[in-house]
Amino acid sequence: MIAQQRVSLFELTAEQRAIGELARDFARDEIAPHIERWDREHTFPRELYTKLNAVGLMGMLVPEAYGGVQTGYLSYALAIEEVAKVDAGTAVTLSVHSMICGAIAALGSAAQKDAWLAKVGSEDCIAGFALTEPDAGSDAAAIRGRAARDGDGYVLNGRKQWCTNGGYAGVVMAMFRTGGAGSKGISAFLVDPATPGVAVEKVTRKLGIHTSDTVDLAFADARIPAQALLGHEGAGLSAALGALTAGRIGIAAQAVGILAACLDASVKFAKERSAFGRPIGAFEGIAFKIARMATDLEAARLLVYRAAALADAGRAFAVDASKAKLFASTAARVHASEAVQIHGGYGYTTEFPVERYYRDAKITEIYEGTSEIQQLIIARSLLGRLGD
């Protein structure tokens, strides 16, 4: 039996702390001064990613040989958390980008790694993701977009919905049907969005994460080379779901960041705001909300760290990632609501950031697998597929 690497849960290494601090300082200096305006104006701050790339935060899951830093998932989770504490939108851009970096590193051919990993890892090229279609969300095996083999390439036709980073991506990981119906007929491709026939059809407006780019991509007879196929034909859904499994660590960390921001804002407000002659934090109705918020934050954080540490140790982490995402996203949504409640009328205004946290928190229960899907994964790990 291969000795398993011990997973240390309660102490970060100096290097992990330094990476978290870098992300914290970066977010404080480069995002915080602008976030109110970016959120209000639905701005995708493209130049921000040039700066994130310069400090290496776009290459966290890219091996050093390709210009990245390969810090591992725990450092990655720490960085995403710090960024999400200031802006959840930037955090998801970073999370999805990194998830695709990880997929290319894991599944790509030598030629694909040469072609794309240095670009996404250190050359300011953002990666986007295209799986969902108007009629295929959680039921990803139902996608209809077609990749038809044609000579030495494929011709893509179909429409991909809610592609994260799609409008600014230099490469898109896109899933299309190459075979018959069902999950085995799907293949994954690394598509250059500059390919003729690929177009951004619609920019979707959302409740929150306004700094994240969400677009529909239309593919009309878009011809791509055979080398764009990631892995082999028929392995596309498993490639996509594998990427999303790792992506859940990022989204769970994003939820932790939102939750941490809610706690900071609530503690500050509870000390500063007075009512009935006392700071409102002196009332148990407020103080207990804060106590529960802090406890759930710590629990969510430990679940995320555990899933990330398992991934770093090369151990199975899918169910742990699902548990982390389920718990952290629920906690973020619940406590963002409480943070608004603690702020009262002020919390409902755009003068305080908690209304943004409230709008941003909800999506963490939906993307990278809904909370229902996470529960299915967790339940099946215990019960198997009963009744199938």
């Binding site: 290496g56 935060l57 810090t71």
Partner: protein, 270 residues
């Protein structure tokens, strides 16, 4: 001593480890010293400008010149010092000895000078002040103990032909100063924004050397630390609570603005 033009420069940046600027600070009424265990320790934010200036000089010279970080601090501060290495400094030296604890500005400058002499230097850079003690006296005292010209409050710094030239901020304008190396310069916050430590920098910093020098390693002839301190804090009192502000009542916004402008002008604030 004259530094030949073609020689690589040994740039030494003296930094201080301070309690997190954003944390609530507490002073022990018995020792009348700041309780340092209460808050996270960070690099003195002012010193990051000196590190940045040192790194930019090194990059401009591009001749293999090096940046060495020196600090007088307990060894527990090692990871904080590593941040300066992650920004790009080549190595660090910590002056760590229980005998240094409780040093005042004089003793700190004296010990740092001994450490810097031991390291060897052509140019010493410092911040302008620390966020904890805020005396702003160290750069001058350190230049004095090193026996080199001290060019303080530099917002620009250049090195060429064995000389350092700085644009110095004063209350009324700027002075351009020049001095032969070796020299010391303190760098202001208007010089250049400190860079972020990059991920590659963080990884590289793991392998960089942080040497530790003790009292016995340095040529120190006088008592330092709390025993050698010449300055004694004899009493601490809280600053008086701020008096209530003045409220301006006016017929409309314009009239109110005029009253406020007049009030500020009277006090030479505008």
């Amino acid at each position: 001593m004259v530094i030949p033009e073609d020689r690589q420069l040994n740039i030494v940046v003296a930094v201080k480890l301070v309690p997190d600027t954003n944390a609530d600070k507490r002073i022990d009424p018995q020792t009348r010293r700041l309780v340092r265990s209460a808050a996270e320790t960070v690099l003195n934010p002012f010193d990051e400008y000196a590190i940045e200036a040192g790194l930019q000089l090194k990059e401009q010279l591009a001749d293999g010149s090096s940046v060495t970080i020196v600090t007088m601090a307990p060894e527990s501060g090692k990871e904080v010092v590593r941040k300066a290495l992650a920004m790009g400094a080549d190595r660090a030296v910590m002056l760590s000895d229980p005998a240094f604890a409780g040093s005042d500005v004089w003793a700190t400058a004296y010990v740092l000078a001994a450490g810097i002499r031991r390291i060897g230097f052509d140019l010493v850079l410092t911040g302008t002040q620390s966020t904890d003690a805020i005396t702003g006296e160290l750069p001058g005292a350190l230049a004095e103990y090193l026996g080199v010209p001290g060019l303080t409050y530099a917002r620009e710094i250049h090195v060429a032909a064995g000389r350092v030239r700085v644009k110095r901020e004063t209350d009324t304008g700027y002075q351009t100063l020049s001095a032969p190396l070796p020299a010391l310069a303190s760098i202001t916050k208007s010089a250049a924004e400190p860079r972020f430590a990059s991920l590659k920098g963080i990884m590289a910093a793991k392998k960089k050397e942080i040497a530790v020098l003790r009292l016995a390693d340095l040529e120190i002839a006088q008592a330092v630390g709390g025993d050698g301190a010449k300055l004694e804090v004899t009493e601490l009192t809280a600053s008086p609570a701020r008096a209530a502000g003045k409220t301006v009542t006016a017929a409309d916004g314009n009239a109110g603005a005029r009253t406020i402008v007049a009030f500020l002008k009277e006090r030479n604030l505008l």
